[in-house]
């Protein structure tokens, strides 16, 4: 097991937890167990996909993001907004007004992920062409997907796009530029992300592969939404002229992003939803998708618009963003400086390392012994996969027993059968 303490932007409120096991059953990495009637998360296994947050009906698993007032610790405050944010508003609220409202939360400057989309597409194509030996290149923007590959598909780590994600690229670029322009030291500038999912909050606090700490905090779309709506009401009738980048909003939609990268010599595939992502990764492992040069992988439905911290349905949000892309016109952005930084290698990330959770034991002989014992327990268990014991499946319970984390008495069905036998005696 790893010695690193993994941070997760998910909190369990024990008082609210009823031990219902809904979260246990939706966790793609089997990271959750209910023990003594309360859910617990194995921090080594959790990839921050947010499935448990979305499924919990008792507000017992809640996302944690930073409180908005931390921005006041900095002299100059910058917000970088995820593209999915603009799909969260009814169509009477314009893109520009929604953006201005974020500024009026107390920031000095607002930037958007969408500003660098075109640059990203060029960089991705360039990277794919330079790394054809590691075909297919897998997108690395979704932090939940990166973590999923680290824990369950470590053989595919070299295939990950080893460059920073757009919001991190913007962070580097802006910190430098604003420090010069405003004559401030880098530490006087606070850069914050407005994000659609817990995985992005986690990534801000514990980035994988970053050479240095990038952002100073992350706010969830859901958390600021109420305040933003209030400001919108106030400013809606007298909007300021504000630059927007509708063509860049494609980043929020996994399908559209794949279409953009796809060209004569690059074949791209788009996959979203964590179950689909796992199925595809397993096929990539076996070389069955070698015909693709690039695979866009997003843990949430339709991409970032499906993030569990958003307020709008992922399909409605997608439709709105598509409308904005079609109807709006982006302000031109000069990407020369970004191109130069890329050429210098400034956006490269540290090679990503495995965080294996699958192995039963480091020594194959011991692992086989454990496997045999798991199979023995499995024949005793009822095979209903009911999760009433607090483990997701009978197999997982058998494994928990062998690893010393549960006992066979945790099986409710066996206990019931035993009581029945006792009664009949």
């Amino acid at each position: 097991m790893s010695d690193i303490n993994y941070f997760h932007a998910i909190q369990i409120l024990e008082d609210n937890c009823t031990g219902c096991t809904a979260c246990v059953r939706v966790c793609p990495t089997e990271a959750i167990r209910v023990r003594d009637g309360k859910a617990t998360i194995d921090t080594n296994r959790c990839v921050d996909c947010g499935n448990c947050v979305a499924v919990c009906k008792f507000h017992a698993i809640i996302p944690s993001s930073d409180p908005l007032d931390i921005i006041h610790k900095f002299k100059y405050k910058i917000a970088i907004i995820s593209s999915s944010f603009f799909g969260q508003f009814t169509e009477d609220i314009s893109y520009g007004v929604a953006k201005q409202a974020v500024l009026e939360l107390g920031f000095d400057e607002v930037a958007e992920e969408a500003m660098v989309t075109e640059f990203m597409i060029g960089m991705i194509r360039d990277y794919i062409r330079a790394n054809r030996d590691k075909r297919p290149t897998l997108s690395s923007n979704c932090p939940a997907v990166v973590r999923l590959i680290q824990v369950q598909y470590p053989a595919l780590l070299p295939n990950l796009f080893h460059q920073e994600a757009p919001m991190s690229i913007l962070t580097r670029f802006l910190r430098d530029k604003v420090a010069q322009r405003e004559k401030l030291s880098e530490s006087e500038i606070g850069i914050f992300l407005i994000v659609p999912c817990v995985a992005h909050v986690t990534a801000v606090h514990q980035p994988e592969g970053a050479y240095k700490h990038l952002q100073d905090g992350a706010f969830s779309t859901g958390m600021i939404y109420g305040k933003v709506r209030e400001i919108v009401k106030r400013i809606q009738n007298d909007p300021k002229d504000i630059d927007t980048y509708p063509q860049g909003l494609t980043w929020a939609l996994s399908g559209v992003q794949a279409d953009l990268v796809d060209c004569e010599d690059i074949r791209a595939l788009s996959v979203n939803g964590v179950e689909n992502v796992m199925d595809i990764l397993s096929k990539v492992e076996d070389h069955y998708l070698d015909q693709y040069d690039y695979i866009v992988l997003r843990s949430c439905t339709n991409g970032c618009v499906g993030g569990c911290l958003n307020v709008e349905n992922p399909f409605v949000a997608m439709s709105r963003i598509k409308k904005m892309i079609k109807e709006g016109e982006s302000k031109d952005i000069n990407v020369d400086e970004l191109e130069a930084l890329y050429a210098k290698g400034d956006f490269a990330v540290v090679p990503l390392t495995p965080r294996p959770i699958m192995e039963l034991d480091k020594d194959i002989k011991h692992a086989i012994k454990k496997m045999k014992r798991i199979n023995e327990f499995l024949t005793m268990l009822p095979g209903l996969n009911c999760s009433a014991c607090g483990s997701p499946t009978c197999y997982a319970l058998a494994e928990d027993i062998v690893q010393g984390k549960a006992t066979i008495d945790d099986c409710v069905i066996l206990l019931k059968r035993q009581n029945k036998d006792d009664d009949e005696d």
């Binding site: 039963l360 496997m371 045999k372």
Partner: protein, 153 residues
Amino acid sequence: MENALKECFSRAQEAEVTLEFDIPEKDFNNAGKGSSEVKNLLKRLGVESDILRRIAVASYEAEINVAAHSKGGKMMSLIYDDMIHIKFEDMGPGIGDIAQAMIPGFSTADDLVRELGFGAGLGLPNIQRNSDALHISSEAGESTLVEFLIFFT
């Protein structure tokens, strides 16, 4: 084939873990599940990822072969602490000319199989390329046994 390898196909010592799967005729919805289970089990044993990939490719190809060309059969995986021995036994109709079947691109796949994207004639060559030893016994009209070994180190 070397004698040492031959012996590995009929080890006296019992396998540590065995897994068995039925492969029904033309059931392409489920073909591949057996090899995927084997892969997941070997991941739990900590088998190195490169070797895992070879096992996954070889067993998937063999599983598809049974589904596509035979009247159904079964897949039996014998796992030792140093290797895996996977056997595919079907209920016929057998391979008339094994040497011809080994030629890349040669296939007897019917239209249904080809329509589903299989039948490129790379099954057996792929199994050979990814395994450490391959053994096929078959005759026209008889059942076929395809078995291979892949070592963990």
